[in-house]
Amino acid sequence: MYHALGILALAAPLFSQPLGDIPPGKTFLIVQSHHDDHTWQWGFSGFAARLVDAGWRGYFVRTTNDEKDGGAGWGKNDQTNLRESREAIRALGLTDVISLNWRNDHMESVPVKEVRAQFILLLRKLRPDVVMTWDPWGHYDRNPDHRMVSRAMGEALWLAGQWNVHPEHRDLGLVPFRPGRVYYTFRSDYGKGHGYNVAIEFNDAQMRRKADAYWAHKNVFNTPDEAKRIREALAVRNLAIPELAGLSDEQAIERIRRWEIEFASRETARNLGVSFAEKFWMVNEFDGLPGLKDYLQKKAVKR
């Protein structure tokens, strides 16, 4: 018993992160592989909605064309998923979806430099104060598009600030740029590679917009058969969900999807004393200079 309590006490700090603040700035950029990556349980939608409410401008980069995601065939999936991605960012209040249209699930065969070049251009043009993307140090992700975007973005964040990288950008009046903060996410159930050092709280209204954004991706999430299977499986055990009574399978799946994403946000917030949260690994402006970080924090003053 005491051993168990001891383990729980030791484990507690590992599972609790400090609640993060809204950093200074006005522009954020979410760079991910697929149309729905920012809205699912390992996404950034709650944080994005909160930044928008605080007056920020946000952009979402869909790196692939999502042609494999959905049951409509390649071309139709691409178009539908892009349209729904735009609906999702409208729900959140973001400004635009930038679709780079690389071929879905084929990104491992693309040279990292080609993808990275596009990211560097976007970083220098949009000059985001905050970037949200896949964690390049995550382990065991089987998705080739996640792996490539994380690596290409990792390189872009490092190189966009260097003068001699893509000097042709100077002809557009673009200068080297490094974002102040990067928030990384990854599947938290995939190995030990990705951890968290910050949690971002968001409110009920922002949660509703997050659920709206999630549900906007109907091409992949509107699966009435799934609602039917769930209800049948429960009925076998003489169980039913009262809230779903009287709803069609089409209506039930929407309710289930909204619960799904709300449940994940509540679970993340558990032990933090807030209703809804998302968790990330945050890299601050001078974290890449560990020898100077404290010095700069102490010595830098307002102009």
Partner: protein
């Protein structure tokens, strides 16, 4: 005791060390103090610098940057007592597009040529090291150490008089940014272990070596200055511009900060952190000292 010290000195005197670095500054900042100590003891150190650092400057063309950093890199190596610097000349920031086997084999060539007792390589497993050239170099160097032992790798080497070689000890170095860097990941038999080395005696030489990299240091100072300016802040150190003395002071703060960070929670004042594959590494327990202990 005196005989033991004499024996240890003689051993160190004959030691050959091969350092592999992705860029001019990484090995200096992460392992410079330890290398200077080895050099003081008489070790013959060879440095393989993989990229030409051509991106890391302000208002200089890539070619000019590469030329300057090459000279500064040799000056830095000299401060540390490194006997020879080999520049492989890959373009900086582009190792992600280089064949890992090609890079491995070029490093393996120098393993067989210099026959080191000890290698120092970038730790490719260190997380949140943003300069990914260091990851690619670390992967290639780690593999080179292994393949250098096998005659069937690059059999043409044998014709040229390069025989297979076993490197007895391996140090992985990296900037102390990985939050889990001090956690052992497994037993020493299979996984290199975190170690901390005292550098108080060679700190000044490490600092001078770091300060010799003026082009890179200027770029670092300019990036910090730009970031602070963009966010309405300033560093009083730069109030008279990014002068040579201001940048040298910034580098000193960096090297001191790194040494203090690595010494944290140890008995040392100034230190460097590594992962170390020692004599027990990959030796079956029944043959190793660990079993006898």
């Amino acid at each position: 005791m005196k005989i033991f010290l004499l024996f240890a000195t003689v051993c160190l005197w004959n030691q050959s060390v091969l350092v592999v670095t992705a860029d001019a500054s990484d090995y200096v900042l992460c392992a410079g103090g330890t290398l200077a100590k080895l050099a003081s003891g008489g070790a013959q150190i060879t440095l393989v610098r993989v990229t030409n650092d051509d991106k890391d400057s302000v208002n200089l063309l890539p070619e000019e940057t590469a030329n300057r950093v090459r000279q500064e890199s040799e000056a830095a190596a000299k401060e540390l007592g490194i006997a020879k610097v080999i520049h492989l000349g890959y373009r900086a920031g582009e190792l992600g597009g280089v064949s890992p086997t090609e890079l491995r084999d070029r490093i393996m060539f120098y393993v067989r040529l210099t026959k080191p007792d000890v290698m120092f390589i970038p730790n490719p497993y260190a997380e949140y090291v943003e300069v990914l050239d260091r990851h690619y170099t670390g992967m290639a160097a780690e593999e080179a150490r292994r393949t250098a032992t096998m005659p069937n790798h690059q059999p043409a080497h044998a014709i040229a008089g390069l025989s297979p070689h076993i490197v007895k000890e391996l140090y992985y170095y990296s900037a102390p940014v990985d939050p889990r860097r001090r956690e052992p990941e497994g037993p020493a038999q299979f996984v290199p272990q975190p170690v901390v080395r005292d550098i108080a005696g060679t700190f000044t030489r490490k600092l001078r070596a770091a300060q010799a990299l003026t082009t890179i240091n200027q770029a670092m100072a300019a990036a910090i200055h730009r970031r602070l300016e963009d966010t309405g802040r300033r560093l009083p150190l730069f109030d008279r511009g990014l002068t040579e003395s201001a940048v040298a002071k910034l580098v000193e703060e960096n090297v001191r900060g790194l040494a203090a960070l690595c010494a944290k929670d140890t008995q040392f004042r100034q230190a460097e952190e590594f992962h170390h594959a020692g004599p027990d590494y990959q030796v079956p327990l029944r043959y190793s000292g660990a079993a006898k202990r």
